[in-house]
């Protein structure tokens, strides 16, 4: 007798799966498009790249060793970067740790102009013209923001336009003094 209920129960289970997925998407704990970074808890990738302001002077990420820092991947071609820029200025000023901008596959002159006009939140801005460093960081879209701890491990990754609220929720708990 009960075996006739098997299909109904199977579909109920399927429905439960969909309900879980929908609720989690709705409350923001799951995003089908987001890719969880395998770098979390691993050593941050190192890089040497020319800076945007002075292309002749390379920047070596080794100098950041022993300090917490933020990596923000951006480009002048990216509308969401423009969107997060004003928030980034505030966050970087308050956080009190180095903010390294990786200008991803961009035009140097436009990048300088962009930072000149909108303000420069970055301690250093490096140019990743070929996108190789971005691949090392597992970047799949701009903007993306990483927090690296003093021990050199990647603590947080956020993909999308940063806001002060997101910073306070996801990043600040890991920054000494709460940022």
């Amino acid at each position: 007798m009960w075996r006739y209920f098997t299909p109904a129960i199977a579909f109920l289970l399927l429905g439960a799966l969909f309900a879980v997925a929908l609720v989690r998407i709705e409350n923001g704990t799951m995003d089908p498009r987001a890719i969880k970074s395998p770098l979390l808890g691993k050593a941050a990738p190192t890089f040497v790249l020319p800076t945007v302001t002075e292309p002749s002077r390379p920047f070596d990420s080794a100098v950041l060793k022993g300090h917490p820092y933020v990596i923000n991947v951006w480009g002048t071609w990216c509308p969401a970067c423009r969107e997060e820029h004003s928030a980034l200025l505030v966050i970087a000023r308050r956080a009190g740790i180095p903010f390294i901008g990786i200008d991803w596959k961009d035009d140097r002159q436009q990048a300088q102009q962009y930072l000149g006009q909108l303000g420069n939140p970055y301690t250093e801005t490096v140019a990743d013209d070929e996108g190789r460093v971005a691949i090392d960081w597992g970047v799949y879209g701009a903007p993306e923001t990483f927090l690296v701890g003093a021990d050199g491990q990647v603590l947080v990754k956020f993909a999308g336009a940063l806001t002060e609220a997101i910073w306070a929720e996801k990043f600040a708990p890991f920054v000494q003094g709460g940022g």
Binding site: Y4, G15, L17, F18, R33, K36
Partner: protein
């Protein structure tokens, strides 16, 4: 005020659909003649009001009424008229309206063309369809009204997504939805049977033509979609195992199984429970597809703007209809058990095996489509399940199926003997394999993939086996029963499809090249010469057009043009490939980017036998059409067929 007429029409349609379901389900229960007549009238009225809403929306597109948000988002002053009409179903809200329109069209057809059905039964079917209509009309009006105003109205619209601006795509969604939504008819027949607790041979005979009709539309719709993806997306593939494609393919597999299972239920009165279950499954998988495409739980190339609140609504509908009908099934199924035997080698066994493999195939696609979602939902990590998985696992159930179809077609009810047929069939299989090997080595000069010769051989065997009986009847100057002929044509189509897939998978050649005027490149013996390129101005796009001449051994073969279009508003490039079609191959040129110094990137492709993939689909649909035209489906309550012996059963049989 015109858009408000649309809103009002949808609301009236919703109220009428409520009446249709109440009159239908309660009226049939009370056996009230007045209520039952009212069901038919409200079915017609629902159709008319949904049609009115549809016309209002189409009119909004035609006259550029950008005060309708949906029109503003999906049209543009420069969009040609044909695409303004196709834009009606170019995004979520409008395509949902099309969904509802097609549902009410099926209901109208059932009420008009089923005069021969007992009143109570027809009324129950219409009542069930009315209930589905209530669900989707409520979904449309409450969460997805296409008539929402945008004030102040913009002067111009955001344009239709460029890749939808194509003739095949204007036809693909309506055809696909006819099939998708058409599964609701078999579902309604199943629900009506379960409500009445009676399910006899005539039930199967009533259900079959509707199921086959929906299946035909689904077959054509999927084929059109595949063909469109092949030439519009510019990358020359014909199937990508994208969740949306899978969403249309699963109901197809279930409907195919249902058609075959209905044959057994009609002829032998067996497998009734299984047939009911398949009818529910086919519709459930359609609803599931609707859910997957519109809820945003899966990432897809074709998905609509994701919206979890809409997702919850569709999920509610999904659970109501599926779990509701499956519960009804659980209650009724024990009393519908049928008795009757058949020998291990018989048509029944073959059809059962066909059902098992088709359901296993559908289950695998469902699993592969949903597995990443399962992982993600329970924080087990992000994984991808793509073509490498599906291409491999899909063969596990379908490869034996090809062989089984070829043999099983010639079986007879109750007890089949292959004493006289075994030898010719074995001969056909051997000749098929030899022919397959010949095609591989003589035409293409190499072995190909591990399964190439099996694929060709299976395809040839299937085609020969399908043609055998119709040809034999032709020689003996016997009449061709339409149902048997339809079956042969559809199976012949599967054979064509298998050959097409084997050919293109084994011997396709793709080459990306950089070319300027005068440059040549050669693939598969064809020399492509880049002649010239020029700028072209379209109604709402600018394009670069390249002329490419193809020669073989110095003799001209074709002159192709290919365009890369840049649409003015959406700023999204599309590629329009140049394709030269011949019976045995396509030559395909797609223009890429300008590389500087007068050079362009081009993709050149040689696609052997690719046309047989879609031609196979057309043959399948044609087979369905022939089968529907069988005499015994005309005029409703027909005298049941009494096979006097196994031979006549085979002659009228199908499977």
């Amino acid at each position: 005020m015109i858009p408000e007429i649309g809103t009002l029409a949808l609301l009236i349609a919703l109220v009428l659909a409520v009446l249709q379901s109440v009159f239908g389900l309660v009226g049939a229960h009370r056996n009230d003649a007045v209520w039952m007549r009212a069901t038919s009238s409200s079915t017609v009225a629902v159709f008319l009001f949904v049609l009115l809403a549809f016309i209002v929306l189409a009119y909004g597109f035609v006259v550029h009424d950008y005060s309708i948000e949906y029109v503003a988002h999906n049209s543009n002053n420069e969009l040609p008229l044909i695409y303004r009409i196709a834009a009606v179903w170019g995004a979520h809200e409008g395509s949902l309206l099309l969904w509802v329109l097609i549902l009410s069209t099926w209901a109208l057809l059932v009420s008009r063309l089923s005069k021969g059905l007992p009143d109570v039964f027809r009324t129950r079917v219409l009542g069930t369809l009315g209930l589905v209509g209530v669900g989707f009309l409520a979904f449309t009006t409450l969460t997805s009204s296409p008539f929402t105003r945008l004030l102040p109205a913009p002067l111009d619209g955001a344009d239709l997504n460029p890749i939808l601006q194509d003739p095949a795509l204007a036809a693909h969604p309506p055809m696909l939805y006819m099939g998708y939504v058409g599964t609701s008819v078999a579902f309604a027949f199943a629900v009506a049977a379960m409500l009445s607790g009676r399910m006899d041979a005539s039930w199967s005979r009533w259900t079959r033509p509707w199921t086959v009709a929906a299946w035909m539309c689904l077959t054509l719709g999927i084929s059109l979609g595949s063909w469109w993806a092949y030439y519009v997306l510019g990358w020359g593939g014909w199937w990508f195992w994208d969740p949306v494609e899978n969403a249309s393919f699963m109901p197809w597999l279930a409907s195919t199984a249902l058609i075959h299972s209905l044959a057994v239920t009609e002829k032998r009165g067996l497998f009734r429970n299984w047939t009911l279950l398949l009818a529910i499954f086919a519709f459930s998988l359609s609803l599931l597809g609707t859910f997957l495409v519109r809820s945003g739980v899966l990432v897809s190339v074709h998905s609509f703007a994701a919206d979890p609140s809409r997702g919850l609504f569709v999920l509610g509908l999904l659970l109501f209809f599926i779990v509701g009908s499956l519960t009804l099934y659980a209650i009724r199924a024990p009393s519908l058990q049928s008795e009757g035997g058949f020998a291990p080698v018989s048509r029944e066994s073959f059809l059962l095996l066909n059902n098992a493999l088709l359901v296993a195939a559908a289950g695998l696609i469902l699993l592969g489509t949903l597995w990443p979602l399962v992982m993600d939902s329970f924080n087990l990590g992000k994984i991808s399940v793509g073509p490498p998985y599906f291409n491999t696992v899909f063969l596990v159930p379908t490869l034996p199926l090809v062989a089984l179809v070829g043999v099983g077609m010639h079986s007879t009810w109750k007890r089949a003997s292959y004493a006289s047929k075994g030898r010719p069939l074995a001969l056909m299989a051997i000749i098929g394999l030899v022919l397959g090997a010949l095609v591989a080595f003589v035409c293409y000069g190499r072995y190909g993939l591990p399964l190439t010769i099996i694929g060709f051989g299976g395809g040839f065997f299937l085609m020969a086996s399908a043609l055998w009986q119709p040809l034999a009847r032709l020689v003996r100057r016997q009449a061709q029963p339409r149902a048997a002929l339809g079956m042969a044509v559809a199976h012949f189509g599967i054979g064509l499809f298998v050959i097409g897939v084997s050919g293109v998978a084994s011997y396709k050649i793709e080459k990306d090249v950089s070319m300027g005027p005068g440059d040549t490149a050669t693939i598969a013996g064809y020399t492509f010469r880049f002649e010239s390129s020029k700028d072209v101005v379209g109604p709402n796009y600018l394009a670069r057009e390249a002329q490419v001449a193809i020669t073989r051994d110095g003799a001209p073969v074709a002159a192709l043009t290919t365009q890369k279009r840049q649409f003015k508003i959406q700023n999204n490039p599309t590629t329009h490939a140049g394709i030269d079609v011949a019976w045995n191959r396509d030559l395909f040129v797609a223009l890429g980017d300008e590389l500087g110094a007068g050079k362009w990137s081009l993709r050149l492709q040689y696609k052997p036998l690719v046309r047989y993939i879609w031609l196979g689909g057309v043959f399948c649909a044609l087979g369905g059409l022939i089968a529907i035209l069988d005499r015994r489906y005309r005029g409703g309550i027909v005298e049941p067929v009494h096979p006097t012996d196994t031979e006549t059963a085979a002659a009228t049989g199908e499977g």
